[in-house]
């Protein structure tokens, strides 16, 4: 038994002694390092060592919670006592359901890569490899970062759950600049592979060079191939909208949909994939100790699963899908099922369109209707009659998510593992061709 699970058990028992009927303690220990680059050199090297406990407490159907440093058990006990004193003063929670008594989960193998632990100790070799790869390309300069982490979690609940898990992760992205152009690419993985790291830098540099000279493209409707960076960003939003909490809180385009409803093109399958041990975010058990499993959110265009913990499942008359956060459900990792097309084949499908390789600042006018806009920020390539003929200046995609996921024409067969600022949930996805996407630009 490790110190981490011991600490979780101790805190759980102390909460029960304080008078709570139920308690779940998720203790987390994170050792992490990040090298951030700007102007082709390191701008800062950051190293974190953090141990935190997240605590769920319930009594007489009241729900209370806290997050505290694990190193302050006395203060944690004081806060738990304060929360116990509060419980009689708040009404029962509209979300309350008893903590589950789940079966033991099948451990997920291969979450730790010892090579990443070495990088955690000395990241300078990876830093040098990134700088060297970038130097081999005709770019002006690059920026970006890589982060390596060892994350341990331990869960102890009043229903007898006592579980531990540890995993390593690598998150990185590089943005290269050349003339007017820029290119950005990213990677999320649980494994160290210097080739994949160098590929991120090389892809970013290649896109920067391809967009070195840019021209204005008028706003209008275009067939657009979205890169895995952009698909990842938009489908993070779609997947989160399938969480029961988003539906309850009025932040979902699935509010007026039922499981079994057709919501997208037949070609589209989006999966919550917690048991894909290659992606950061994968885990064998959720924050209530329920074994996770891989499930489609949308399968062949049909809404298949709303993501639940035991509380939202009770509210919806459903079963937990193994997506519990301590209070609300969460998405673990996302996979988009690959199609059959190569990128070249998809290009041939485009007469007058664009390849948008990266975007940022996606905001919604209305979650229920899925109306949004987002801005291109790196290479946006102009496609005429199946060929890339130039690069476009920045513009917006301004459309509605329900309409876009219905208008999918082709899905690529090669997948990429993306994790960065704008793709917060690690996502494995191919390129996707969308028909008749609305674009916009400033008027003056």
């Amino acid at each position: 038994m490790t110190q981490l699970i011991e600490a979780a058990i101790k805190l759980r028992d102390s909460a029960l002694r304080a008078g709570f009927e139920e308690a779940a303690v998720l203790a987390e220990s994170v050792e992490s390092i990040m090298v951030k680059f700007a102007n082709s050199e390191p701008s800062v090297i950051q190293r974190w060592s953090t141990r935190t406990a997240h605590v769920y407490l319930a009594k007489q159907q009241r729900i209370l919670g806290t997050s505290v440093p694990l190193s302050s058990p006395d203060e944690a006990a004081r806060i738990i006592a304060e929360l116990h004193a509060l419980h009689t003063k708040v009404p029962p929670s509209m979300l309350y359901a008893p903590l589950p008594e789940p079966p033991k989960p099948q451990p997920l193998e291969g979450l730790v890569d010892k090579k990443l632990l070495e990088v955690l100790h000395d990241p300078s070799g990876v830093s040098e490899a990134i700088v060297e790869t970038a130097r081999r390309h005709p770019i002006d300069h690059f920026a970006g970062m890589f982060q390596v982490a060892l994350e341990r979690k331990a869960l102890a609940t009043s229903k007898g759950v006592e579980l531990e898990e540890e995993g390593t992760s690598l998150k990185m992205y590089i943005r290269a600049f050349a003339g007017e152009g820029s290119g950005q690419w990213a990677l999320g993985s649980r494994r160290y592979d210097i080739k994949r790291i160098e590929e991120v830098a090389a892809t970013a540099a290649d896109l920067a060079v391809k967009s070195r000279s840019q021209e204005e493209v008028p706003p209008g409707k275009y067939d657009i191939i979205l890169s895995p960076m952009v698909v990842g960003n938009l489908f993070n939003i779609v997947a989160e909208m399938a969480s029961a909490s988003s539906i309850l809180m009025g932040a979902s385009m699935f509010i007026n949909k039922d499981v079994g409803d057709k919501v997208a093109s037949d070609a589209l399958t989006i999966i919550d994939a917690p048991r894909n041990a290659e992606l950061p975010g994968s885990t064998a058990f959720d924050d209530e100790g329920v074994p996770t499993y891989t499930k489609p959110i949308i399968e062949k265009g049909v809404l298949r699963n709303i993501l639940h913990n035991s509380k939202t499942a009770s509210k919806f008359g459903a079963s937990s899908t193994g997506n519990a956060g301590l209070i609300l459900p969460r998405v673990w990792t996302i996979e988009v099922a690959p199609g059959e097309h190569s990128l070249e084949e998809m290009l041939r499908e485009v007469k007058n369109g664009l390849i948008v390789t990266n975007n940022w600042y996606t905001r919604l006018q209305n979650y229920v209707e899925g109306i949004f806009s987002t801005i291109t920020r790196d290479a946006t390539l102009i496609v005429r009659n199946g060929e890339v003929v130039g690069a476009a200046r920045k513009m917006r995609i301004a459309d509605a998510l329900p309409r876009m996921i219905t208008n999918i024409a082709a899905i690529g067969k090669e997948v990429y593992d993306i994790h960065w600022w704008e793709v917060d949930i690690p996502t494995r996805t191919p390129y996707i061709l969308f028909r008749e996407v609305n674009t916009s630009k400033h008027t003056a």
Binding site: Q46, V68, N366
Partner: protein
């Protein structure tokens, strides 16, 4: 104020210097939070949490290392110092431009914000009733459409810091804040949906809740949202019109298109792979970005503000910064690194979200300088146009040039009078067009609360942004189809 951890902070700085650091800084940083969340008047749950730890920054061999720990024992803090130092030094050979800091008169001071109505004097029963009353009044306000969802969160926090650095700074501060956030969805399935996210936040105590008066205005807003669904017509998009932009949008516009591009670290490319670069280049101080009506100030020292502080996290005393002044790019936001590069002085913009975050350049409270009109006068001066009072969707490109705001509550103006509601007008213009098109501003100065995101890992820090209502001439609007 019960100060703690002063010794360990000073010891960390001394230890870093003993290792050979050229500069060292240590910050004890604690944030305690409480919140109550509800949906449709029913409580979801209550939370009380805190985070605390020590963040250390060390300059060695021209590279900057940062390390943090939330284990407040000397062995852990010592290890954090060693990690920051060794990781910086191991990257020294990759530094083409070794990092140096400007010389500053750093402070030795203590300050705190005092709550007039302390959180401990407001019972949780009162907060429960507040959420319940909000739902009752808002949901009963309309008859044809319905309020599908009203999610509410009431929060309070206390941020405490002890900062020391090797240049002699020693700053202790305590800033309490309160907030209320809501998401309301008004729907009539046959006609459509209107959604509004909004938050209030400020430094101080529960005295702010009376000023915000959400209970008073939200039912009226809900009535307006119902009217938007039932009555709003398409905005004029066939020709350029005059646009009165509500202070809520003006505030966001100055934050996005003046504050962010004026951050000197962004101008130097440090955030290029994250929040992006800036259309402002290092040589553009003094260049024209707008007309004489365009003055934007960022001021951390506004009492009660969400972004309030008197010394930044590098120990530099805070002051108002005139970023755009009468249409000219006037001043950048600096920390000590960018000040050194630009051969100037820091204007105290370095701020960290928590102990685990490095201090980086941040806005505090950014606002457009008010004018001398009233709102009525602004509207009276429009023969044909639109008044856009509030927004939902917005974004701006990563150089802060092309910006877009999707109007929520908006009205047609004809012959100086407000006519009916218009639906989903979009203001999509460049930064220069905005600051060059303002022909008048009213005397109001309203502030709006936000959490500004920047950095890697992402740091969300509390800010205000605000301004008056302003009038733009000859703007081509778009509409969300």
């Amino acid at each position: 104020m019960p100060w703690q951890h002063e010794d360990i902070v000073l010891k960390a700085v001394d230890y870093a210097l003993s290792l050979g650091a050229k500069y060292a800084e240590a910050r004890y940083h604690r944030t305690s939070r409480s919140s109550l969340a509800s949906r449709n008047g029913e409580v979801i749950g209550a939370e009380k949490s805190f985070s605390e730890g020590i963040g250390v920054r060390v300059l060695a061999d021209g590279a900057m290392g940062f390390s943090s720990t939330n284990v407040l024992e000397w062995d852990s803090v010592k290890k954090a110092v060693e990690e920051a130092f060794s990781k910086a030094r191991s990257h020294g050979r990759l530094m083409r431009s070794p990092i140096e800091l400007s010389e500053e008169k750093v402070g030795r001071a203590s300050y705190e914000v005092i709550e007039k109505k302390r959180p401990e004097d407001v019972g949780i029963e009162e907060k429960v009733s507040y959420c319940s009353d909000l739902w009752k009044h808002a949901s009963a306000a309309i008859k044809t459409a319905r309020v599908a969802t009203l999610t509410t969160s009431i929060g309070e926090s206390v941020e405490e810091k002890v900062i020391a650095n090797s240049d002699g700074a020693f700053i202790r501060s305590r800033v309490p804040r309160v907030s209320v956030w809501y998401n309301v969805v008004v729907t009539l399935p046959s006609k459509g949906t209107v959604q509004r996210f909004f938050s209030h936040a400020a430094s101080g105590g529960y005295e702010w809740f009376e000023k915000w008066n959400v209970l008073g205005y939200l039912p009226e807003d809900v009535k307006t949202f119902e009217k938007i669904i039932l009555e709003a017509k398409a905005p004029p998009t066939d020709r350029p019109v005059d646009v009165v932009v509500g202070s809520e949008i003006v505030g966001l516009m100055v934050h996005e298109s003046c504050g962010h591009p004026s951050e000197a670290d962004r101008i130097l490319g440090r955030e290029a792979a994250q929040a992006g670069k800036s259309f402002i280049k290092p040589s553009m101080l003094g260049q024209r970005i707008g007309n004489e009506n365009a003055t934007v100030i960022d001021d951390p020292t506004i009492p009660g503000s969400n972004g309030f502080y008197l010394y930044d996290d590098e120990g530099v005393p805070a002051r108002p910064r005139y970023l755009y002044k009468e249409g000219l790019i006037n001043e950048f936001l600096h920390n000590r690194w960018t000040a050194r590069v630009f051969k100037t002085r820091s204007n105290a913009a370095a701020r960290a979200m928590d102990y685990a975050s490095e201090p980086i350049i941040r806005m505090a409270n950014t606002y457009f300088k008010p004018g001398d009109h009233t709102l009525e006068e602004l509207i009276e001066g429009v023969r044909y146009g639109v008044y856009i009072k509030s927004y939902m969707e917005w974004n701006i490109d990563d150089e802060r040039w092309s910006q877009r705001y999707g109007g929520l509550e908006a009205y047609l103006i004809e012959n100086g009078e407000l006519k009916g509601l218009v639906k989903n007008p979009v203001l999509e213009i460049t930064t220069k067009t905005f600051y060059s098109s303002v022909d008048a501003a009213d005397r109001n100065l309203a502030f709006y609360a936000g959490t500004c995101g920047k950095g890697e890992p992402m740091q969300g820090v509390p800010v205000w942004f605000g301004g008056p209502n302003v009038r733009l001439r000859n703007i081509q609007l778009r509409v969300i189809a």
